[in-house]
Amino acid sequence: RDSIYIVGSSTVFPFSTAVAETFGRTLGYNTPKVESTGTGGGMKLFCAGVGVDHPDITNASRRMKASEFENCQQAGAKEITEVKIGFDGIAIANSKSAKHIDLTLKDIYLALAKDVPDADGKFVPNPNKTWKDVNAALPDAKIEVLGPPPTSGTRDAFVELAMEGGCNSFPELKALKKSDEKKHKAVCQGIREDGAYIEAGENDNLIVQKLVSNKNALGIFGYSFLEQNADKVQGAKIDGIAPTYDTISDGSYPISRSLYFYVKNAHVATIPGIKQFVTEFTSDKAFGPEGYLADKGLIALPDAERASVAKSAKALTPMSKPE
């Protein structure tokens, strides 16, 4: 094998492929083969072993889990370099021809949670039918949210950030986290299954287009799609913050997550170009705020963090076991 083999997250796929292409075009190496397998699938392939048949790099839209790290260790992939490449914002948007809508995390939680606390704090199946039921300030429209299915990393992130965030706006629920973490998760992260939340497949373009033809619906998808389709859909402000490059980058926009890739150090010496690929990826002209990945919708890390990431990536510093 004479080319790098990359697997993993479909969210990172557009960025990884952009680097792969530039890498192939400018550095004279063969263009890496990038497979979109989803974060979990990628981890599984990546941690299956060392050797020509196994991938060199896996992309992830979340950190590697301790269990996955263990798997890697057992399969002989002892040294793994973790590279954080930037942020991905998750936008909640509706059609441009509909009224602009501003939400709080609490609204989101109340609109989409499976069970919500009623007036006396008891959990009842979510009774809210319209946005007005959720919050009197919101329009009297049916709750209809198109979002990714549970298999997608976007969904994981949405649940963790938006739903749990909204959940924690209830003090008693926030307290629950300390006392009974499991229960807290269950009540905060469960998404209703009664049709108000529509699992629309993993194609974000489809969600965008469905929004165009359905004015009532809201959609949940990655920031890059919002940016590309700014003439068709508008992002809702969350807690008063609009999803823009700057707000996501500085962390004020609440629903954003980090993206990573992982390198199998054992392959670096024997598969041509891995080091150069990592260098290319972590160069400012790629993942910097002015870099070509920014054009593709990646939101760059803050300068300082970027520099340190680039440094340890170049050195291929192995990660320690994640907690």
Partner: protein
Amino acid sequence: MSKPTLNAPQAPVRRTIDIVNASLKRRHAQERRFRRIGAIAVALGLAFVVLLFADIVGKGYTAFQQTYLQLPIELSAEKIDPAGTREPETLSTADYMAPIRAALRQQFPEVTERRELRQLYSMVSVGAPQFLREQVMENPDLIGTTQEVWVLADDDIDMLVKGQIDRHAPEESRRVNDRMLGWVEHLEEQGRIEKRFNTIFFTQGTSREPELAGIAGALMGSFYTLLLTLILSFPIGVGAALYLEEFAPKNRWTDLIEVNVNNLAAVPSIVFGLLGLAVFIGFFGAPRSTPLVAALVMTLMTLPTIIIASRVALKSVPPSIREAALGVGASPLQTQFHHVLPLALPGMLTGAIIGMARALGETAPLLMIGMIAFIVDIPSGFTDAATVLPVQIFLWADSPERGFVERTSAAIIVLLAFLFLMNLVAVLLRRRFERRW
């Protein structure tokens, strides 16, 4: 002769013809209705094709053109070939982006601020230097001159020029801001912007840049996959059908096989992907993401279709033909190959057409065997990593860039053209063999 009345039936109370005539109006109405329903059905079928086509072509035809910017580019000898050796090595490693950028700056001297300059540079594609390099390498005499060169525009500019981005939309909901719009309009006034036939689309592999993305890799991938699928599945399918229908003893065991084959047709395609992953890649160690494995999976998937269609076709050949051949001492195999197969061939080809069409359009099982991958290089064999048209379409359809929307449709057009070509061959064959007896 005996007396005619002896056993004569009671003469019908009414003549048949009266009864017939009485019902004729109703029956003719029925006939007309039936016929009209048939015509409507065909028309509907055709209308669906036309509708889908119009939809796809309407969205995709613009992708066959690509926007270029004309820039006076100074190919200074010092920059490109300082030693003046004209060695290909030097020429190919030279920086061609610089002269393009210089030309842009020269067009818009007022732009100096760094951020603005970046925007200005972003008007040409990152792939533009590559084409300039090719031109120079082909004709090294250009070095040292200033040439009016058509360089590839960035996808945003392309979208703008093609009207996919609304120039009158408010700036914040437009990917091209007012400043860039001004530059574009300036260039347009000078006649320096032109849409040309998009050769890149047909000659290049995929890319993350819409303007550089081509279908050639996926097309070749599909070609290899389908070629191998056809080579494998048609003979195997026909052979199996022949055996099951004509040779195998008719017993529970063959009934089981028949049910089994029918049932395989209902197995979701992704399960074939699972099987391929486990057997071909896992067990036999065939290389992942290759037309070879894809073709093997597709073969398993299309076999039931071909077997069923072929059996149906064999069944409809009248037994007297077989008897006639056997009667002059032809062996069963000769009977089949000389007489039955030619008569059944149209039906078998139908099976092949439908099976191949499905194999050409299928994505799900390929997800399992690693074909949903970013592969730039155009495959040149069955064991090169490749992707195929529907997967390419699937990937492009999921890309955020606006430029991929039309390219997705264009790729579908190419796929359909491929399909038509395939059908055409089969249809010509089918027509040769079709007859009534």
